[in-house]
Symmetry: C2
Amino acid sequence: MAVYTEVADDELHAFMAGYDLGNVLSFKGIAEGVENTNYLIHTDAGPQILTLYEKRVSTKDLPFFLGLMEHLASSGLACPVPVRDREGQMLRELAGRPAAVISFLEGLWVRRPTTDHCAALGQTLAKLHIAGKNFAMNRANALSVTGWRPLYEASGNGADTIAGALHHELGEELDALEKGWPRDLPQGVIHADLFPDNVFFLGKEISGVIDFYFACNDALAYDIAICLNAWCFEPDAAFNITKARALLRAYTALRPFTEEELEALPILARGAAMRFLLTRIYDWLNTPAEALVRPKDPMEYVRKLRFHRGVGSARDYGLGE
Amino acid sequence: MAVYTEVADDELHAFMAGYDLGNVLSFKGIAEGVENTNYLIHTDAGPQILTLYEKRVSTKDLPFFLGLMEHLASSGLACPVPVRDREGQMLRELAGRPAAVISFLEGLWVRRPTTDHCAALGQTLAKLHIAGKNFAMNRANALSVTGWRPLYEASGNGADTIAGALHHELGEELDALEKGWPRDLPQGVIHADLFPDNVFFLGKEISGVIDFYFACNDALAYDIAICLNAWCFEPDAAFNITKARALLRAYTALRPFTEEELEALPILARGAAMRFLLTRIYDWLNTPAEALVRPKDPMEYVRKLRFHRGVGSARDYGLGE
């Protein structure tokens, strides 16, 4: 939620002269994106986002992220499109950082998603998975099951400062996930971070999906498990099965689940809760007090994880009855 | 440089329904404005700024600031115009804060102003002063000469942690300013904070002046003294007389100085340097490490103050020869 890298007006003019976007009419640093610096630029050719990639994003992954956005947009998914400069490049450098200009998407993200929003999300997620099928590049999911133990160990007993005996509880859960994690589910490109702030709506329609900087190849159903966590719980931690059913039905209408996916849904949901819980715990324990970004509350995901542990089958998510 | 107050999408929709601006297409918190929270909103009627006034701005002053912008804009000055809601109100409430929608101005602020930029500034400042003459409301300048001693005393010997014996040096300077401060100069509405980041350019033309939240009634020439400090020094602290001459000539071509103003220019410039030095010292000593806003370096204004103390007459600023 911050501008980490300041760009001067003359630097910006020189940079933007490389694009076929006409004059720069304004530029404002925007308080969005935890990882990168984003400017909203008004140009003669319309509004654009200028992103400067900060240290937490690995430079070698940028061609995957930008290429994926271009691929998905050309397949008809509403998402930002990297603008190529006059030499055909999507990725350049500005103020000592890798930088890209990306088309601006109108729309607002929804703080309190309704069942309608969840249904729209399910449909869009299925479209994303279908459109991603013939994308040629690959990127492993650094935050899948094999990435969790190092994160868990990095926080160690510190987790117990968040909730008593949490370190032990997560250790047992991690053992179970590593043992039971499904490995043969249908794979493809997943968004991997499709929280409400990454989905823009105009009215009840999705106007676009943003922030592909965690996208990777993994089990498609794992992406749905992330969305169940991010969209289908109420502020009081109650699971809203009506929203989950709407999401899952809209998704499976376009891409039906295999029997194995249906069966794996509860463990995938536990894994997804674990993944966000572990990064939240890490950030909670390691964000300096003077940081520009406030860490998110890990307890929200402790409660979600505990809910999923009590789930018997995909029926509990509103599917299959 | 921060979003202090978060606004949810449904709160925003409810608020914006009070205006005749059509649909809200997007809104982004922008990293501009140290005192207030600003959102850039795209609406069917074009881009707007939504400002939420935070604690440092006194609510009782808001009708003056908003009324002034409306007055200046209707007098032909390029500045943001407060948008009135369907009931004719400029000032409303959102998320527990006083809030206003203000027209968005295209343009970029210039990090390294040239002589041409300074000339354009002089002309615009004169227009602002002329347009302000028949504005009916009044607001005293809380940061004029009588406001400096309390600020000076609030920092006390802390100033010496910035430069050795600075507390003593400023005490002597303050005595001299209080004794010699001119009281009978032509008065009017001044901007009082016309730094480069408050002046937008499109090419060499000024597209607008923003941030009227220090505006007040005071000596018109004091506003020029602020600009001499803010626009006419180089990064190495050298005074650029060519820029000052361009600024002053462009200004006086539209509003000639009186003899008294010409004579007072050096002490006004010392006073303006003192005013920004004192608030910078205060902020330097009192900004907590975890603050979202980094304080500005006071030493820049120590050097400027020392320069003005060596000035003999307005001739040294490029005028009167």
